[in-house]
Amino acid sequence: MKGEGKKKEELVKELVELHERVAELEKSETGRKQAEKELKAANQQLTASEQQLRAANQQLRASEQQLRAANQQLTASEQQLRERNNYLESLINYANAPIIVWDPESKISRFNHAFEHLTGYKADEVIGQELSMLFPEASRDESLHNIARTLSGKYWKRVEIPILCKDGKVRLVLWNSANIYAEDGKTLLSIIAQGQDITERKKAEEALKESEEKYRTLVETAQEGICIDDKNDNITFTNKAFADMLGYERNEIIGMNFRELVDKRQIPELEKQTKMRMEGKSSKYEITLYTKNGKPCNVIVSAAPLVNVDGNYEGSISVNLDITERKKAEEEREYQRNYFQALFKDSPEGIVSLDDKHRVIDINPTFEEMFGYHLKDLQGKEIDDYIIPERFLKEGKAYTKRALSGKTVKAETIRKRKDGSEVPVSILGAPIFIDGKEVGIFTIYRDITERKEAEEKLQKAYKEVKRALEQEKVFKLKTAHYFFNPLCIAKGYIDLTMEELPEEQREKLKAARHAIERVEKVVENVTQRGEIRE
């Protein structure tokens, strides 16, 4: 276009010169013809030049059109470039992720809104500043080292970089970065880094880790057996307590099916529970497992379903509390309760249970029968007001006082029935202590009417027997006296007589003396041993 411009000017200049020469020719007659000729030639030339000029002009117009078209194309490109630039600007500025750009001299050149939000700095506060201002002192060197690696052409691959905020707080950012080179592909223009604030996530991860550690410790140190099984009831995890509870090593029990551990009769219950788990329900139930050495182990199972992220059932987790001993103790307590209940209800002795104010709590059937009262007549009432005859009130109050002071009362006395008749009873009152505190009294009444009658009869019989024995004894003594004295006298005289007789005459007296001794022996045996013999 420029070349074409110059040609046009030259042509115009030549045309002017020609006009000047025509003028000179006109001035000169002589040369007029010549001039005419020249003019004609010049006209011809001019015509040719005009034609050339016209052609050039046409060419110029075409070039101009081309130029205009090129200009339009350039303008469109510029527009496109501007739009793209604006787009990128917006993209960087309004991206959710913090984006920062710095030049090779580590001067910050771009700082998007997300970064502003992250750090509290405004872009104009940091643009042109050293990049290092964004790193806390403690980790600055390491961060700068990573940046240096970036400058050497290496990429960060999700590196955690602590960022120092304007308020002094530090946030942890997970970074990706890239170098931006010039068209030559060698000259480093800038470095762009895109971050992701993972401070909260990191905290959450730490908290989760800590929480997991806590739960792990909790699970491992729990007294209860904790067990995880899959949807087919295969055990996939247990804590030590669960393995210990059943006498297995953990590696032995993991992989076993729960059905292998449970009492066969309870498999339907186990299946029912598994079904509940599959329906997403938690539950608590009691089941009997068997230890490795075949002993039953009563367990309360608290189980909950385990589902994956898609909400599909994957198994269950259960907390298993060994209640074997508790169960035994409960059974023992139940047995004792029933035992004492039976003892109370079926006792042949009247029993009344009193509270610490000596008011009736319960009476047994024998008591009802013995005194004619029903529980409704006496419940909550002072027992002494109902069954103690007037003349025994003082004694009864003394017994009550003794029992309420924690002492046992044993006595035989008289008590009164509902109809006013009296009944001889033996009383055994004993305090009831629970945890060292007296909470009431048990009093046992035994109707001793028959025993008293029997005792009286026995006493009477005893007296009769005693009198008879006494009489017998006296009889024996008297008998002895009646016999011994004369017999002794007889022996005495025989002895004396024998001394005076010659030996040959003594024999008959000796026989007589011997006969006396035999009688003495018989009398002695009868009187002292009750036997009639010599």
């Binding site: 003594l477 008297k478 011994f484 004295n485 002794c488 006298i489 005495g492 005289y493």
Partner: protein, 141 residues
């Protein structure tokens, strides 16, 4: 010479015991009732002829029937029994030595005699000769 007072309601006992005790060199005095025995002991005591031993029967009633003996034994009879005689002799002389020699030796009556102060109660079944030797041995000691 040792001296013995025999208190017994049987004269035959007196006679036989006297023979055997005399052979042992013992001087014997006899009383047929408790009252007589106490009286004789008092007299001998006053005369300073204190018996070295009193041989005391329990039944001093002289009764032949059991009813009378029962009353006597119970202290309700007319005469004092061996227990009361013993008590009264011991009242005279607390150092008096009294032995029972009786057919009632195994009875509560004999216990009362011991309680009253008799040092020994010998069964009447012990022959007189043997009893006399026991007395002699005791008196020699």
């Amino acid at each position: 010479m040792s001296r013995v007072l025999v208190v017994d309601d049987e004269p035959d006992i007196h006679e036989i015991l006297t023979v055997y005790l005399s052979r042992e060199g013992i001087d014997v005095e006899n009383a047929l009732t408790g009252e007589e025995g106490v009286k004789m002991y008092k007299k001998m005591h006053d005369e300073r002829r204190i018996p070295d031993l009193v041989i005391m029967d329990l039944n001093l009633s002289g009764e032949k029937g059991m009813e009378g003996i029962d009353l006597h034994r119970e202290g309700k009879g007319k005469r004092m029994d061996g227990v009361r005689a013993t008590e009264q002799i011991l009242d005279i002389n607390p150092d008096a030595v009294i032995w029972g020699y009786t057919a009632w030796s195994d009875t509560e009556w004999a216990e009362r005699l011991r309680d009253a102060g008799a040092k020994k109660v010998v069964k009447r079944l012990v022959p007189f000769k043997e009893f006399a030797e026991m007395v002699a041995d005791f008196l020699e000691e």
